[in-house]
């Protein structure tokens, strides 16, 4: 007897209901929302502080000592809430909140690129002829087997510098990171397309495109959203790593990765310079990951519900109960 429960049955409302029951995911969602808000409101927040992210303050750093911020706590005071950056004296709070824009924006945009490419190629491979599948799967293999950091170094060097850098970084991160999502989508589509309701849709007379849109895409939405939610934090760290190698977004635009790169040597002399972006990155990645887990649980409640019942099987009684029409 078939015994699959009904995942994500009536869509959005049920999803929210399930998500709401997870406290950790809710807190994480709150944190993410706050971060997005901070990123969006960066100009407002810095205006309240009365600083901006690019002005140098040579007088606030001790030039003779390598440019370490003057004063305790990295020069934090009423004017500069989080202190100033060593060497330049730029306002750290402003750089941190503007950095959130880049880190989150690049990561989200890259995720969109990855999902778009991955879903398109994955579905095409699963639905296409044998040779299409072979070609696309091989192409995916190649992309996965390429050392991505290296290729992004080269790619970022080729594109003219007039191209907007954050967009470019997002594109590059996106272009190199879609392999796994394509594989997931292909596998899921192959499974789905043998499901009875997809067969029924074929019998209804729909063409391939209509079936992909109506029957398959909603079906792969759950795994894709789940994976995408976990890709966002990964992309944030990839952006940071690219900045570390010197090919991230361009100054004076701040990004957390760039700040970390500059700050790691200041760990002993000006710890807050390292701890602030590291903390921001940590909180963001943590929140996004927990939220991603929550989203998965909400989209695929099977695991959770099984666990609660322990010996399983019992939900059979709920799904086929009252068989009389």
């Amino acid at each position: 007897m078939t015994d699959t429960s009904v995942p994500a049955a009536s869509g959005v409302r049920q999803f929210w209901r399930r998500l709401r029951t997870q406290r950790a995911a809710l807190v994480a969602a709150g944190v993410v929302a706050l971060l997005v808000l901070v990123a969006l409101a960066a100009p407002l927040l810095t205006a309240v502080e009365g600083q901006d992210s690019t002005t140098y303050h040579p007088s606030l750093v001790d030039s003779a000592r390598g440019g370490v911020p003057i004063g305790s706590l990295g020069g934090a005071n009423a004017d500069h809430w989080f202190g100033v950056e060593p060497q330049t004296g730029r306002d750290l709070f402003a750089r941190l909140v503007y950095g959130a824009r880049v880190s989150l924006g690049v990561a989200l945009a890259a995720t969109v690129v990855q999902v778009t490419i991955g879903v398109t190629l994955g579905v095409a491979a699963a639905l296409g002829k044998r040779w299409v599948d072979q070609l696309l799967s091989r192409f995916t293999d190649i992309i996965v087997a390429m050392p991505l950091m290296i290729m992004s170094l080269a790619l970022l060097a080729i594109v003219p510098s007039s191209f907007p850098r954050p967009v470019l970084v997002a594109l590059v991160v996106g272009l190199i990171g879609w392999g796994n999502i394509a594989r997931i989508v292909r596998a899921q589509t192959l499974t789905l397309k043998e499901l009875d309701h997809v067969l029924a849709a074929r019998l209804s007379g729909w063409g391939t495109w209509s079936i992909a849109r109506r029957e398959l895409l909603p079906g792969i939405a759950a795994p894709v959203i789940t994976y995408a939610a976990l890709l966002v934090p990964t992309n944030i760290t990839v952006e940071a790593a690219l900045s570390f190698l010197g090919v991230g977004v361009k100054p004076p635009t701040p990004s957390w990765g760039q700040m970390l790169t500059a700050a790691d040597v200041w760990y002993q002399a000006a710890p807050q310079y390292l701890l602030l972006p590291a903390g921001a990155l940590f909180v963001t990645v943590l929140a996004l990951t927990v939220l991603g887990d929550g989203v998965r649980t909400a989209l695929d409640p099977r695991a959770a519900s099984r666990l609660r019942i322990g010996t399983g099987r019992k939900r059979e009684s709920k799904t086929t109960e009252g068989g009389a029409a």
Partner: protein, 332 residues
């Protein structure tokens, strides 16, 4: 063809196709990359005539397809080259000579590969121990405080870039506490003990980054398995919880962990650039970044192919392990 030999053959053909495709991509990408290779090789103050001489020396004036053809020839038949005073043979598979150092790329790979393999293999053991261990513990103690702490710690690992973890570890462990010497690579064949001590911190920082993914995966697969029917069977037969978690549930996590591990090992060989740079380990990743910066095409191609080879190999090994672990799987 089927069975194991058939699998090996199919995989080998697939790998060759993949690797050739990668080499074409690298050739094209680096062909359009800015940077006057001859000038870089010759030195900053070289005159135009000298630069021309060097360009001729390196066959840089040939069209792209011809250069690629020579590359293929070298791969298949090897190639001869002049050191100035004598003619040397670079036997197949020959990736050519580094533009920068005139070294045979094959030789370069042989000197760098042990370092990368040392780094990745040791780190792999650690990330598996840390990751799977944490995963098991958190599946075992699910919902309790200790699980949350463990999850938090492993997540902290993922969320912190390796260059921060590595540097802080080094400053604290080697600089402040002086528990370990600052890492410097010692070949395994020279002194196994020193090899391990020196690589401990690099291993740890790489492993900390990766462990979280394994912990999450292990935990999720184990919880998935714990919800399966056969677990109920063993519970219904009075088998203890420890055996159920440690034997049956863990076994279910085996396959996905293998798959993830294959993915990570492959990419880590080239992807450990940051770790190698930070700890001064002369491995593939560091060499590759260097070669990219000076547009040293033969080295880039060689190194990228080596990395690609390991990715393909890791995936094939994972498939074999998968099939051995779960005989229902057929090798394709």
């Amino acid at each position: 063809m089927s069975g194991f030999p058939g699998f090996v053959l199919r995989r080998a053909v697939g790998a060759v196709v993949t690797l050739l495709a990668i080499s074409v991509i690298v050739y094209v990408v680096f062909y359009v990359t800015p940077g006057n290779v001859a000038q870089i090789t010759c030195g900053p103050r070289c005159s135009p005539e000298q630069v021309d001489q060097v360009a001729r020396q390196l066959n840089l004036d040939d069209p792209l397809f011809l250069r690629y053809w020579h590359f293929l020839q070298g791969l298949v038949a090897g190639q001869d080259y002049s050191t100035g005073t004598s003619v040397q043979h670079c036997s197949a598979p020959c990736f050519g000579l580094s533009y920068q150092s005139d070294q045979q790329v094959t030789q370069l790979i042989w000197t760098k590969l042990p370092v990368s393999l040392s780094l990745v293999s040791g780190a792999m053991v650690l990330w598996l121990l840390l990751g799977v261990g944490t995963g098991v513990l958190s599946a075992w103690r699910r919902g309790r405080f200790s699980e949350r702490v463990l999850t938090g710690v492993t997540l902290a690992g993922t969320a912190t870039p390796v260059f921060v973890i590595g540097l802080v570890l080094m400053i604290v462990v080697c600089g402040e506490l002086r528990l370990l010497p600052f890492p410097q690579y010692v070949a395994l064949t020279d002194d196994p003990e020193q090899w391990a001590w020196n690589l401990l911190l690099p291993w740890l920082s790489l492993a900390l980054i990766e462990a979280a993914a394994f912990a999450r995966l292990t935990r999720a697969s184990m919880l998935e398995t714990l919800a399966e029917d056969h677990i109920r069977t063993f519970r219904a037969y009075g088998v203890g919880e420890r055996s159920i978690v440690g034997r049956h549930a863990l076994r279910g996590a085996f396959a996905p962990v293998i798959a993830l591990n294959a993915n990570n090992v492959g990419s880590a060989i080239g992807g450990a650039v940051l770790t190698e740079t930070l700890f001064g380990l002369p491995g593939i990743g560091q060499e590759l970044v260097h070669a990219v910066n000076v547009v040293d095409l033969p080295v880039v191609v060689g190194m990228v192919l080596v990395i690609g080879f390991f990715v393909v190999l890791a995936n094939a090994v994972a498939d074999v392990l998968y099939a051995v672990a779960d005989r229902r799987v057929v090798l394709t």
